[in-house]
Symmetry: D4
Subunit: 254 residues, 8 copies
């Protein structure tokens, strides 16, 4: 892009002031500068981290973005805030377990009948569902088909094995686990696609709010596993969707 | 595969004993059971973790695998052990900085002129090179083209920006950093492809052998970043090659 | 000072009892001994740490200090306590985001048109604003002009670079960041003045209430950075004002 | 025992001095008081922790104990020290991988053909063998039959499953694992007997010398698992032998 | 079991679909897959972890299990939830201190007059009672006789010694302690049966929510001690019952 | 600078290729890109971190920099390496306690008779001298006058107080302490200039390689203290020189 | 004592049953066994830890102890519980800041005019008062005279020095400090009597609930300092009173 | 002392310069300022921390101190350094296990026949002896009689109890333990004198170089225990001697 801008400055197509503005490329909403260019750059919806923001902040950001046609994903929105936002922005949808609020121009993908493959979101226990759903809904809003495979923790390995083919045929897996966090290692040994491991803070005593599961996953002896932050379902889903779409739409995008 | 085996048992094509054997699918070298099926399953060379193994152990594993035609990658082999192994297995190659020993049936890829894209391996400082080279050579042995972009730490941001286009056009980046470990966050904000972050144990005082860099990367506010263990250059290169090849060879493999 | 006191004792200008009293130099309000000499010694307002003190405690300290003409800065005062104090001490002002209550004899500085330079307070994200404002208001009450440069986190490096000149022309920077805490490293590489880094407890999962950002800043590979405690906006502003005023008013003061 | 002693004092069968001596029940070798009564109390060999003791110390303890007919198990003895001890105490045996030196009156058990059951010692990787062998040899010296099942880490779950029946038919399992330490959870979900988990310090980066594996095992979601200290193969073998013999010799002993 | 299934497939007694189903062996209640086979496999009641589950979830799981005749133990149920469940499932019993809800087909054991031995549950302080009772009630519901020996902390060693015979004659001990967690070491030196140590989070200051007691127990210099997670009274009771019943009912079960 | 470059592109004074090159502004020595512009930007010598670099690497960097007239400071160079470098670069000087190698165009400052003020480097114990000297020599090479005040730990407060005037009249203090690290708090309460605190790894037992001293300094209740990494004497000296020179040479530089 | 009992058994003065009872020496209140002998053994009031006990529990223990004439000290009792207890046990007194409830047969000591010396309780800041008062009141209830010296933190060293003689003439000091916890080191360097250091959890950010102050005190370079747990004012006061009374009442007591 | 000095200044008996000098009160040996006044102030030998000092440094300090008649205790001196020092300072003695070098004007105390009481130094295991001897020899050099009671760890409680009377009749105990560190709690419950607890770094796996034992001791539920740093035998002996001598020589000294 630098080449382009410099070239246009040279040719006079762009003034110095315009060139500087082109590089800046954002506008000021007063309390937060929203980067519109980034949305275009990545072909993905605009992501807004909702925790710690008031409903009013979310509404003004959401409206500004929707107005210029970007899809939007707002994470970590509790039910009460979500209802306030939905009254102001009725086109948005809310997923309560995932605590995610979103607006998409096109429909969400329903299945992978078009041969586009899918993301497997695999969760160890029922108490990991909030994080798993955050991953799953994130990947869906970002355009991927998702297969959910839940309650398949390693202490009952037959439950996992009964889903073996469905897991192996995914393009990428997001594996969510709290407690001892061992599930990604087992899955990683069974598949040949990338595994994004998401430790959760579900655990007791010496679990230390997810530290135990996090260390387990970082130390996995299976190859092909990378890890995101504790309870970061969004990160798991985002990484998976990024990989999935590169694979199925092809090539590099900048 | 379970369906196939059960079906063949039903039809009499497979005896009960054969069916059990088929599921087991590995052989015993005495001290370590090498999983031949896995090599086929993943389309990748066989990986051997060299640290803590004697040269003799490495030689017997290496010969067994080469004999049946698998490509082989042995990590964490110091120069002295490598020389002993090379005398016994003269077809193998050794990369000293990366401490990696390997044997490939086909040639390593030289460039991406065939439009297959490439993996960018980006390193913050000169002391991160061992880990960065482990990542780079791993990705190459696994069949990817690699572009190395080194010495571009965040304290001199203009150095990173001067490589911006090369970084943005990669299919996937491996970003290696010790000290404060901030480089993946900056790279993650500049690209739209997946970033694999590798913290290194390079640092002083309150660095705690890489813990500081690891935490930085897990807490990155940029999307699209996932993390592997401290100094795990192999893991970074493996994940990158896995993603790169899915993208450029297409689709899902099991 | 010791010389002076001893000399006056020798000359008889001071009795032994007076000499002892002179060294003691504080009075007792019953629950806390306020050091008036220190206020004179440093040329700065009296600092009161408000957290854990009742509104009544704050009022009695505030009155005692104002009565003898010291400027006063009370930190960590929530809105409710502040309103009670303001009813009793109507000359005080309150800054809600910064949670700071203060009284100044002279006006606060408005701009740096007199060529006195300014302190740059730079913050990574909108959730770091409480801490950033505590730093900014502290520096202002202490007599410095402050430029606020907010929402310029490293994951969108172009936002920071668009403020480059304003940052480089400051006399000293306070850089406030949570999450991965990488902003001070990038700023430190771009300026030639001292950088005071303030980690915040804003983060999730493996952030450990600011420990991750703190370690990042301590391990920065940029020179010229020093660090204060997590969320210690006051400390950041105080250090910056101390440096700024030495620079612009000149010389050493004891 | 208190009743007995008091009763004998009352009846005059024991003098006060003898009674005191009876309660003390140990003798002084100068540098360490060896508790002979304990050996009898537990029906087990005398255990000597060899680390940090010189060969000469070990020889004098070993001779004293052998002289009065106790079986003896000396742990953490390196090869060099062992050879010195063996020259002085030729009846002792040494197991190099387990670093264990022992003397038994009776033969070690060879197999479980007498229907006495066995202890399964299960290890994840080849680098866990030292710890696993310490567990196995300890259990054998203590009188149990041991089945060794090695190199069955969770990243290749089929290898573990191929030993399923052998594992399920044990009386008790010792499961040894480093890296992510997930193996005990998987084994715990497959068996109905007690599992003693032994974390090892085998790992890299964020493994923290076994802390990661230890936390994994403490947080296991499988029931029936308890944990000993990092690399404490002796503790694993001792606990297993204790349980195994209670089961197969029956009842309570004091 | 694999042999059986394969053999029946071979013989035609089982179709391929039936064989697959047999291996799966669980049913889907919608939000959690309950493993009925496991209950049969282990001869123990079905265990449900109640924390984080709503009363309604517990009721539906509890009914499904009771309907097919499994005994059931639901842990970590507070009084309010328990009362709701008891109204829906009137056959269940609730133990308030232990926070345990259960249903048993047969009566709970009252004493060990049949010579079946007993589990000793030993607790250091009155504040450890919740955890100790969770262990005791768990062992009872699982079919063991329990002797409770409470308030015998190491700072008053005579209190422990006054129970010496009762402790030594148990088949297995569960030792529960917070604060410095030293009790298992002392007990372990006095008995010849296995000791399951349970650290509690009872403590202050540098206790770090049980970490101090946990480390103490892992580092015990007494042999025959293994450890479960902090506050995991259930784990202590479960392990003890498992060992106790193997000893007194004899042999191996799969 | 961006304005200038764009303006020259516009006017044709600079080609697009030249403009790109101007922004890059560094040259490649093969293994490390040395940033010449930075040296000019900061008015300070070029800093080279010597640890982990071979004598040959240091020699080639040192020569390249000296050749273009930059002063150079190489830190963490042990005596052996230093002697090799000095044979190749005879103009360099070496300070053994500080482990610093440097070359300055002008003389080092000898005293502050010109009224330029000075940096006080204050150290608690004799074992903190390596770090204190690294700070002192760094500040001197960077052009500041330094007063060394050593062996004034808080356990003998009279030793510190006997230097009170010398400390109070400095422009900035660097306070170096290991053990409990309390010295900066006491100094911070006695002066009105900025204090840079440097924790050292000197300590025993629960000192954890400097963590204890680091935490002490971050938690100081004195205002005006900021902290650098453990053992980072260079950082302490650099920050102090930066502040000192701003104060005494005046104003802002970019 | 063992000699005595055995001797009396021998002479028939004591039956076997009586001898066993004599060793046991405690009675059972149902929920907690109160050790009356210990009270006599130590010449101190009975200590009851109030936290986590209901008012009813405290009342029944308090009555039982008062009934047999022991002085009683109940720590960590909040105001609400205290008022309930005081209604039932009107002879008790309550100290609100110290959260201590007590009953003494004799009067509390008022001053040290009888030349019995005193305990100095020294506190750094006003927010450490709760802990300091717990120490002071504990020492008083245990029979010591206490001098309180508060608000003398190290950042204003003159405040401490103005109390120097009063501190130096104490028999033992309890030094209470949060934040950086440096006060005991300074006091330890000024006195020749034992110093009991009490870290408090008062602090922010990287204080980690008192860990920072605890480490500071453990690492003190002053001799003659020992440390109790974080916020353990009771422990500080108890140790001080124990030492104080040995010194001033003389000799050893068992 | 301040009064005296001021009074003499007033009366002309002391010049201002002399008064300043009097407050300073130490002399400069070049590399370390030795505080002679402190030796007199505390009535104890001068303490020199030997670790990290060369034999030459120790010799010059030792000579200077001996020359003016102070007793001297040099800790942490290995055998090699000690022999060098002994050749230069032949009046000194060396204790190899304790690693302590000392010179005393008077004889060391041999026994407590004069009714002066004694310090009990109690150690858990043979591997704690280095630390225990450092404590014992320190207390002896400082003038106390010491009784050594070794190898009485809590896992064999009868060994401790067999020394009960000797322990109870001491004036103060130093209790040294590694591993789980439980011994001070048990001792603390048996005696009515102060207990100084010394954790050692002796342990394995999750012992973390003494952290486990340290936490155990800080969390002890026995009253009357205070703690010094890990392996700080000197601190244990010093505190004990300080208390012992106050008790047996009486009163307060400043």
């Amino acid at each position: 892009m630098l080449d382009d801008v410099l070239e246009q400055v040279r040719s006079g197509a762009l003034s110095v002031a315009e060139a500087k503005a082109r590089l800046a490329a954002f506008e000021d909403l007063g309390f937060a500068k929203v980067d519109h260019q980034r949305s275009k750059r990545q072909g993905f919806p605009e992501i807004v981290y909702g925790e710690g923001k008031t409903a009013d902040h979310i509404i003004s950001i959401a409206c500004a973005l929707q107005a210029r046609g970007s899809s939007v994903l707002v994470t970590r929105v509790n039910k009460e805030k979500a209802e306030t936002v939905l009254r102001a922005c009725p086109d948005y949808s809310y997923h309560e377990t995932a605590r995610v609020l979103y607006w998409k121009k096109e429909q969400m993908p329903a299945d992978d009948s078009q041969g586009q493959g899918y993301v497997a979101v695999i969760a160890a226990g029922t108490s990991d569902l909030r994080v798993a759903e955050e991953a799953a809904v994130t990947a869906e809003v970002l355009g991927s088909t998702v297969h959910r495979i839940y309650d398949v923790g390693v202490a009952g390995i037959h439950r996992l094995l009964s889903h073996l083919e469905e897991i192996q045929q995914a393009s990428v897996s997001v594996v969510v686990a709290g407690m001892e966090g061992a599930l990604p290692s087992v899955v990683g040994g069974l598949v040949s696609h990338p595994v994004i491991a998401v430790p959760t803070s579900v655990g007791y005593g010496a679990h230390f709010q997810g530290l135990s599961a996090l260390l387990t996953m970082l130390n996995s002896c299976a190859s092909g596993i990378s890890v995101v932050n504790i309870d970061n379902g969004f990160g798991g889903g985002y990484n998976a969707a990024l990989i999935h779409q590169l694979v199925h739409r092809g090539g590099t995008r900048t």
